[in-house]
Each structure stands twice: as structure tokens, then as C-alpha cells.
Amino acid sequence: MAFVNDVRFEVDKRAILARLKPLLPPESILVDDEELRPYECDGLTAYRAMPLLVVLPETEVQVADILRTCHALKVPVVPRGAATGLSGGAMPHEDGVVLSLARFKKILKIDPLSRTAIVQPGVRNLAVSEAAAPYGLYYAPDPSSQIACTIGGNVAENSGGVHCLKYGLTVHNVLKVRGFTIEGDAVEFGADGLDAAGFDLLALINGSEGLLAVITEVTVKLTPKPELAQVVLAYFDDVQKAGNAVADVIAAGIIPGGLEMMDKKATHAVEPYVKAGYDLDAEAVLLCESDGTPAEVAEEIERMKAVLEKSGATSLVVSQNEADRLRFWAGRKAAFPAVGRITPDYLCMDGTIPRKRLAEMLDAIETLSGKYGLRCANVFHAGDGNLHPLIMYDANQPGELERATSFGSEILELSVRLGGTITGEHGVGVEKVDLMAAQFSPAEIAAFHRLKAAFDPSGLLNPGKGIPTLARCREYTQTRGAASPSPTSTPPRF
């Protein structure tokens, strides 16, 4: 499906090449179609565009030179990491250069005493934890793609994972980001201490989707690895009961290390793939994890079991060893590829809602599934209200992708009406850029554009993504506006 980027530039490929060639070795510039093809999309494969060029710098000097050149020639730049993103944030711009940070893959320093790691942006998320493991430390945010996704992309998307409720998002686990402005000036956001002088620009860089600066170095916090972790599987004969159980756990003053939920369609997709041993008759399963010292975990698991039983769990299974625990989690972490096996294509939605609205949302998804004639499995970061409906479709069937997209849009619009957001951790990218108008007023969108211009006055970094142009907002309101509720019936929104 085409994404029509309405921010366009007049560029001369030959002139750009002539200026870039002296700056980089020949193997660091990709020009031909067959070399460019692998870059035409990211993890959101439904949307594609061919870039003008791809550059693969290896040093900060090269990054600065490339940016200065593109700035001088007014050429858009799309930064790219491992391209595992699910919102099209790294999809190329047709008039632009893709700046791949894939060769920035050194772990520069692991300092066990200060509990920090300094890494280049192309280092994989899991590699940081592996390098820190000998010191009893790890990097806490663990998106499902952690084997492949890189730290630079994690910062750009403010990635989450299954342990966010207790350990936070990327923004809570990064101390400092070094990078370059579009003008090629080196900048450092954050500090080696816990705060920096001036505005909290580090907070803005996290989740900025490559629209504000190009990241070349990240200092992350490392966390002591808990001595022990155990997970309770709680099965329910009703999704609503499972949702209520989540609120009950939190009301009891427990903050689980992880708190996840899958519905029946999800467990049925997962079980044949990973053989986690899930009960396939249950309507929903909760994974509730405790971590800490052995005594602490024993104390907390007992409290969790008591609450879950009282909330109506039909059965409880506690992991008895690390192999059990990893197998139980493997099912949840493999939910996306497992669904990928039972359908030719799927779209992964990423709305967040207040937890108490879960049952309402799941009912609505069921209804929409009927309306669009498409199956949908639900996995849910229950602890923080982040829902991942997986809409299954077949791109080879005419109209199915469009139906899947409309289905997804309705889910996200409902997320906003329920007091939530269109994206919890996957980013806006190109996928949800129009839906921003469902969540933000024109004045707020305009403020976002001014904020971008404060970092990138020329508007060359990843243009057309993340924040819709005011023209797109108008178009969205005209076509979808009728479906949206009137302002007076909207619950107070933040």
C-alpha cells in the first residue's frame, strides 16, 4: 500500500552523489536499485518506498559530513537502525537519503561500578544485557524484538517491553544521548549524573522517531539482575474477570515484574508454535511475574496467588524453575511470529487504554472482527494498559489490507475515546500519522511542528512522519470526522 508522503523536496541525485562520494568509501554508499531494495521498508512491510540513496557511515565525522551536505543541498535524511520498527518510522523518503547506523555496533564501555554502558546506536538490545551479565547487571527494557532491535532505534521509539510497569520504558533507562543536529553540530542530551542543566531535552529525544537529531552514542543504565524470578500463570473462563484481576493485583499494592495477558485466539496461535503448555480451554491467561531475593519472591508469589484466586482464576500454575519460567514467557514473546504462521499477513495495533476499560475494548474488537470479516488475536501488556490486537488478513485478496487498516483505525480511535492513546510503544511513523488528528487538536499539532523546528528548522529529518501536516489533519477530520464523537461526549482527555 502506498503511503503518500506530502512533504516533498526537489533533489538532484547526481549532485548529491557528487558531494557525498568524497566523504565516504565507495562501499558505504548504495546507489543501485538492487542494493536499495532491502531498505524499502521496515518491520511494517505493508508500506514501502525506494530511497534515493543509502549511506552507511562508520564514524561520527562521516555522520556530521553527511548531515552538513544534506542540509546544504536541502535533502531529507531518514535515520535507520535495525528497521524492526512496526510503524514505518524508518521507511525511506523517496526524495531522500537513508542514513543507516548499522555500522555503529561497538559496545564502548561497560562500567559495573557506575552501572552504565556506553554503546553505539547499532548495538542490539539483547547484546547490552549479554555484555553486562558477567557483572550481575542487565539492561531492563526488553521489547519482543530484543534479539534484533538496536539501542538507537529503542531511543528513537522510546521502546517498552514486558517489564515496563516495574522497570520503566527506554526514557527511564537512558542517561545520555550523543548525536548530531541536521546542521551537523554535535549535541549531548542528558549527562553522566541523574539530570542535566536546562530543559529535559533527553525526554524529547526518547520517542522522537528520528525527527529531531541523529543518535550516535547512548549511555544506558544497567540494573542489578534479580536473584530470582518466578511467574504465575492464571487462567480465566472470562476475559472481563482477567481484566479485573489485573486491577485487583495492583489494588493489593503489588507491582509485578511483568503482568501480561493473552486471549484464547492468541494462546491457540502460540501453543502449537512454542509448546508453552498453556491451557487451551481458558478464555484468557495472565502471566504475573515476581522478582527479587528468594525470600521476597516467595512472599510476593503467595500474595499474588491469593489475589488471583479471589479474582476468580480457574487455575494457577507457578513456574518451578528457570526453564519453566522461560517457556511460559516464550509463548508470550513469540506471539507475533506465532500469529504470522497462521495467517498470510497481520497488522499489529498498539493502543493504550486505562486498564479498567479493557473489557469494553475487547468487546468492541470482537464486534469489529465480525464487521470487517477478519480474525484478531489479542496480546496485552496488562500492567500498563498497552494492547496489541493482531489483525489477520491476506494481502493477496483484493481489499483485505484496506479492511484491516480500517479495522485497526477504529480500534485506535476507540483507544482515544476510552481515555488512552493511539500508540503505546510502536511509534506513529507513517502508519498512524493521520490518526494523530484523532488524538490532538490542530493547535497541539501545530505546537509539535514548532517543537520539531526548534531542533530541525529546515525540516529535513525524517519529514512527513510522526506529526501530520495540517493538510493531512484537515483531510482526516473531513473523512473520519463523522465517525468521531462530538467533543461534548468525549470523556475528559489529557
Binding site: 559495573p112 541523574l194 531535552l201 494498559g385 503505546g424 487538536s441 526548534a454 489529557f494
Partner: protein, 355 residues
């Protein structure tokens, strides 16, 4: 729109037209913080009250003028708290002031700062537009993270009207321990302990004594005490409150008070004057007139920055309250001010002269 908000929008638009500046003020408990500024007073205390509080969602929404004490009492009734322990610095501190000042208390190194708990803000920008950013959910990456940007921006980017905050349960067990220890040894130990799965919630070193606070599950606190040893402190609540509110004797008197935010592993700074260390080594308080230039060089070498936290107006005017920014960052700061407050209405000069 609420009548107070309507009035505030009017005030902002009027200020733009008449080229006035506004000085935003809640309880006035942090008037000492930052540069001394002029401008017409805009008192936020009338816009108060908790809008929603749902303990099971771990989220509270409050109007900017809500007394911080009222918010904390409401949370305490449900066994919850603001884990970052914001200092009040006097009666009447408000929720909006807490976010705008961006200051966190003793538990900061363990649980995060104000900015880590701000989920959403409603604000009036320098055009007089009422804007809403973020939300009431913990995971939200739609649009730039303006709510966290507002934390610590000292009211220079807009007038906060409402904030949504993440809250957490009060830990079930707590114990405070004391150790006789030199500065160098305390810094070494704090960093070593930080790398172990110990429930250390706060730390303070001063006068060859290290005070350590454990918080968590009963079993965790008990076993950590066994591992670490130390002498149990009886009136621990008063100690940590005195530290948070700067009522301990270290903070008394009129000597300038410097706050150095540095890498936790930084060796003893070796500067003249009295020192108090918090946050596992990452926050160092210094009393005395060591000269701004020296403080800023020392802090910068240690990977951080120095704030003239309390000092007389003359010293603040000459030294500046906050560490000067490198040119590319200063440019981004000016641009952000322009983006949110193009006519320069809000708290002009409170942070830096040009903002």
C-alpha cells in the same frame, strides 16, 4: 472552559498585546530557586483540586494549584505515594510548582525523578492556546514527550493548568541504618551496593556518617540488613524529611548552597567547605563561596552540572543560578522558548537570561 482558565487565557493574551511579562507562582515556596525575575504576578492557587484519582490505575490527575500536601494525603489514604518525594520547601507548595521546579527528594536515585512520573499536562502556551499533551496512561508515544519537557522548565514554556502523575504503592517495609564511614569509603560502598539487588531507597553521607534507607518487601529489607550490618536509626522519618525539606543543620545559615549533579562514581571533590552527599553519590551539596567558575568546572569534569541552589541575589545575578549551556544546546533552548512562548510572556529570565 473553566472560568479560571478563561481568565488566565485572557491574562496571557493581554500580556502579549501590552508586551508585559507574567510571573507564574503557586505557593511561592520555591521563589528562591532560579534567577530573581520581575513580571506581573499570576497566582495559580485558585485553580485547585484533584480531578480524578484511581488507585488501581496508579494515576492521579490534579489541577496545578492543588496543594501538594493535599495530594499526598489523598494518596496516603490508599497506601500510595509520589515515590520521588518532592520537596515542599514550606507550607502551600503546589502540584504545578512541583512539576515546574522539577525537584526530587531522597528516593530519586532508586525510583526516578518528577519527570519520570509525569504522564500528561494541560497548559496554556504563549499564544493563549489551551493545549493537552501526553495522557493518563503509562505507555504513550503519540507526539513528542512535552509533559516531561515541562518538568523542570521553571514555567518558562507555558502555564501548567493540570497534570497527570503516575503513583506507586508505599513499600510495605522500611528500615534506616547508620554507618561510620569516610567520604571516599561511602562513595565506594554506595556504588558497589548499587550494583547488587539490594532494596536501597535512599542514602545520605555527611560528617563521616553514612545513613542508608532500605524499602521493600519485609523479607528483602530483613535480608539486606543482615548483609549490610549497620546501626538502626530510630527517628528515621524525621531524618529523611529534614533532608528533603533542607531543615537539617547542614542547610542552615546564609552561606551559598551549591548543588552538584555528577556521575555517582566521582571521587570526593576535595573542595573547601562542608559537603553532604545523596543519591548514591550522584547529588552533592556544598556550602560556601568557592566561586562559580570553579564549581562549574568541577561539575562539568565529573560529567554533570552545578546549580547555585540558594544564594543572595547579587551572587545569583553575577554567577547565574544554572550552568551555562554549550552553544548548540543554547540555540535549541532559545528555539523551544520561541516555539512555546514566542512573545516572551512566561517567567522570562527565571532559568537563563535569554529564555
Amino acid at each position: 472552559m473553566d472560568a479560571t482558565l478563561q481568565e488566565w487565557v485572557g491574562r496571557v493574551r493581554d500580556a502579549v498585546e501590552t508586551r508585559k511579562t507574567l510571573r507564574i507562582r503557586g505557593g511561592g515556596t520555591k521563589d528562591f530557586y532560579g534567577q530573581v525575575i520581575g513580571g506581573e504576578l499570576l497566582d495559580t492557587t485558585a485553580h485547585r483540586g484533584i480531578v480524578t484519582y484511581e488507585p488501581t490505575e496508579l494515576v492521579v490527575v490534579a489541577r496545578a494549584g492543588t496543594p501538594l500536601a493535599e495530594l499526598e494525603a489523598t494518596l496516603a489514604e490508599k497506601g500510595q505515594c509520589l515515590p520521588f518525594e518532592p520537596p515542599h520547601f514550606g507550607a502551600g507548595a503546589t502540584v504545578g510548582g512541583m512539576v515546574a521546579a522539577g525537584l526530587s527528594g531522597p528516593r530519586r536515585a532508586a525510583v526516578g525523578a518528577v519527570r519520570d512520573y509525569v504522564l500528561g499536562v494541560k497548559m496554556i502556551d504563549g499564544n493563549g492556546d489551551l493545549l493537552s499533551f501526553g495522557g493518563q496512561v503509562m505507555k504513550n508515544v503519540a507526539g513528542y514527550d512535552v509533559p516531561r519537557l515541562m518538568a523542570g522548565s521553571l514555567g518558562t514554556l507555558g502555564l501548567l493548568t493540570e497534570v497527570a502523575l503516575k503513583v506507586l504503592p508505599v513499600p510495605v517495609a522500611e528500615r534506616t541504618l547508620r554507618f561510620a564511614m569516610s567520604e571516599a569509603e561511602a562513595l565506594q560502598k554506595l556504588n558497589q551496593w548499587g550494583g547488587q539487588p539490594l532494596p536501597i531507597a535512599a542514602s545520605a553521607w555527611h560528617g563521616d556518617t553514612l545513613t542508608l534507607r532500605l524499602m521493600g518487601a519485609h523479607a528483602a529489607v530483613e535480608s539486606a540488613h543482615t548483609t549490610l550490618g549497620g546501626e538502626v536509626v530510630a527517628d528515621a522519618q524525621a531524618f529523611w524529611k529534614g533532608l528533603r525539606e533542607q531543615t537539617q543543620t547542614f542547610f542552615a545559615g546564609n552561606e551559598p548552597l551549591w548543588r552538584l549533579s555528577v556521575a555517582s562514581v566521582t571521587c570526593p571533590l576535595g573542595l573547601p567547605g562542608s559537603t553532604l552527599i545523596e543519591w548514591g553519590g550522584a547529588q552533592r551539596w556544598l556550602r560556601g563561596d568557592q566561586g562559580a567558575e570553579q564549581m562549574r568546572t568541577v561539575a562539568s569534569r565529573a560529567g554533570g552540572h552545578a546549580v547555585l541552589f540558594r544564594g543572595d541575589d547579587g551572587l545569583k545575578a553575577s554567577a547565574g543560578a544554572f550552568q551555562p549551556l554549550p552553544p548548540p544546546l543554547a540555540r535549541i533552548h532559545r528555539n523551544l522558548k520561541q516555539a512555546f512562548d514566542p512573545k516572551g510572556v512566561f517567567n522570562v529570565g527565571r532559568m537563563y537570561p535569554e529564555l
